[in-house]
Symmetry: C2
Amino acid sequence: MDDDVLRRGKPTCHVEFDEATALLAGDAMQSLAFQILAEHRLAEDPQSQLQMIQLFAVACGSRGMAGGQAIDLDAVGTSLTLPELENMHIHKTGALIRASVLLGARCGRALDAPSLGNLDRYAKCVGLAFQVVDDILDEESDSSTLGKTAGKDRQAGKPTYTSLMGVADAKRFAAELLAEARDALAAFDSRADRLRELADFIVRRDR
Amino acid sequence: MDDDVLRRGKPTCHVEFDEATALLAGDAMQSLAFQILAEHRLAEDPQSQLQMIQLFAVACGSRGMAGGQAIDLDAVGTSLTLPELENMHIHKTGALIRASVLLGARCGRALDAPSLGNLDRYAKCVGLAFQVVDDILDEESDSSTLGKTAGKDRQAGKPTYTSLMGVADAKRFAAELLAEARDALAAFDSRADRLRELADFIVRRDR
């Protein structure tokens, strides 16, 4: 599915082993996530925990990550508009980033609806910013800094933010998304600092 | 993962579309199964439903289907003993067949532990019988009757019940498994007739 041969400077699973093994490892880890969500006491009551599992299942499935990956497959070699590109990323990587944030917020005594809404807005912005920055790094960085293969999206003819907007506008867009992500956390106290740091890190990283 | 080009006389998903699409469809459907288990009221209480999800997650993961598939990948071109072959099938296809039977038994007001134990024994036998009969059909039938490619396991050098036991002994083994599956249902009344029919069908089918 992914043509990276390096991640964090190490060979990716499908290179170190083979593609079938890499796919199976992903399947096994996704099942493990569901197992953990069902096995441990995470929420105040079992019914809330069922809702967490439902949220995660939707994020993984045809209306989430799997659907986004299908859009991606379909898009190779074609040209997407900016809204189409955004739609792909919101599903392919954004759905699980949102789910990660929202599942944390629903653990224990769940937050109220406005707080959940703000965290959802934060996660949407961070998820999209992650992808915009990924495209910028793919365009500007070299493989040794990046720890994965640079320039591969351009070579594969994949639509990216940098190919659609140019690098300068893509950087402005990433900065806007970071500002909106931080704005969504405005009502939270210092307990949200880790989320603020995470947003900063995602936009300012060089790999 | 699977090299069948036909199923029930129709092109398989990876032939009709492509392998990546077939894998994604599987991923999406598995997520949908978790979604349904979490979304609908299936058991008497939410805690029981969490246990159902846990059971299903284990059956899908490294200790179930994904683990069995990994054993299978590892076994191509090697020779397995009969216990090793059984271990592979118990995980690869057996785990989900068992989960299907046990999830049904846990819906609504769950059955008592001895009844669940008997259904588990039934499901283990039926799951293994399914695989033994599959190997016999792959060896004896032609592709047009089978609705999928005959002889492919032998060609691929995969270990099978027929290659390890011979066809005659494999048929006797399938008959024994059917008898044990029916025996496991002995304490159930006519409400288990569909399970009895299913066991008969699995062993007596010609495709």
